[in-house]
Symmetry: C2
């Protein structure tokens, strides 16, 4: 099976036909297949063993296409993170900050425990410690996720649930911090109870005005 309609000699650049290259068309399908293959490879064996030729083979895409479009594994991972940010789950709107932050914590726990997403994110975080471009792409990804959920805190402020001036981004980051710390640093099981405790801690700190800048 060929995911993107490009069979045959994989070392040959695909024939370009401008009439068929449209948004959502072949170019988009090629990108989707390559990014999926890159994510699979990252989850399976980490960043350092990523290889564009292997990814082209997994994606059933001509390797020249992959090299021409992404040039390096670093560039490909940056594009993968941008795509993940676009595709990511929207924020909840449960009507209370507690409900919204619980939904966020459950999403983070589920993602980090997911057999593909967990290793993928860990691999990218590890790579970002030693590579500036991957670090920047990782920051963009998390900035976008934090901005998405920050709206829950702004809505809570408008409902009078949190002190005026509460920093919405810091509240969202504070929910994630103990969950990522557990996975990356301290170890230990990451389950729903850990997520609940993270939310309870953040709510107590929010009420105490800890996230209102001085």
């Amino acid at each position: 099976m060929n995911a993107v309609g490009e069979a045959g000699d994989r070392s040959r650049p695909p024939v370009k036909d401008p009439g068929t290259v449209r948004p959502g068309g072949r170019t988009a399908r090629v990108r989707a297949a390559v990014l999926r293959a890159a994510g699979d490879a990252l989850a399976e064996h980490g960043f350092d063993r990523l290889d564009l030729t292997d990814i082209a083979r997994r994606a059933e895409v001509g390797k020249t296409t992959v090299y021409r479009r992404w040039s390096t594994t670093t560039g490909l991972v940056a594009d993968l993170l941008d795509d993940m940010a676009e595709q990511s789950v929207r924020r909840s709107d449960t009507g209370s900050l507690a409900g919204d932050l619980r939904a966020n914590a459950r999403l983070v726990v589920t993602t980090l425990n997911d057999a593909r997403q967990g290793p993928l994110l860990k691999a990218v975080i590890a790579a970002a410690t030693g590579d500036r471009r991957t670090e920047q792409a990782l920051r963009r990804f998390y900035d976008s996720r934090v901005e998405e959920w920050a709206e829950c805190v702004r809505l809570a402020e408008r409902r009078g649930e949190v002190p005026v001036g509460t920093d919405p981004h810091e509240v969202v980051r504070a929910v994630s911090a103990p969950l990522y710390y557990r996975v990356l640093v301290s170890g230990g099981a990451l389950d729903e109870a850990v997520g609940e405790r993270a939310v309870a801690a953040v709510l107590a700190a929010v009420r105490a005005g800890v996230y209102v800048p001085e």
Copy 2:
């Protein structure tokens, strides 16, 4: 200059003289020099480019000694982490939980911002995402650090400062979590104000009973 008194042919195993191999003697000096060189190399160019021959050269120790004693870079990094745990700064005893946790946060901020310790820890955390033995050594290191500072929470409980049954380890981990999250995941400056906010958040959560297991 030769840090450990082993000059000459570095590929030749050192002559063993049981009369001179005593605790704190040559064996201890060799270990200290090799672990320091390993830490320097990790901080400079990460885990993946660690090389025992390069480390032997930096430490001015015969490479056969290094290969015989540590076998692999993974084994050497595990020994480095065990040594770091032994050498680490003792907990504070300021007389209040707030004072002790502030001292802890300042120590973590200083360590993560240190030109050698920061990159070294990031490199080991990154390596642990893809290597089971390094992960175990990393867990031992942080378990030992957390246990050292957990005593501050136990003392606070005895002074009646925190709810009975507060989990001392989780409190200490909660101080570190947002600091490591910032360095590894979200980015942003890590300064004393960030440490202060982490402590304020943990104290609010402790008072609310969040760290008393149900």
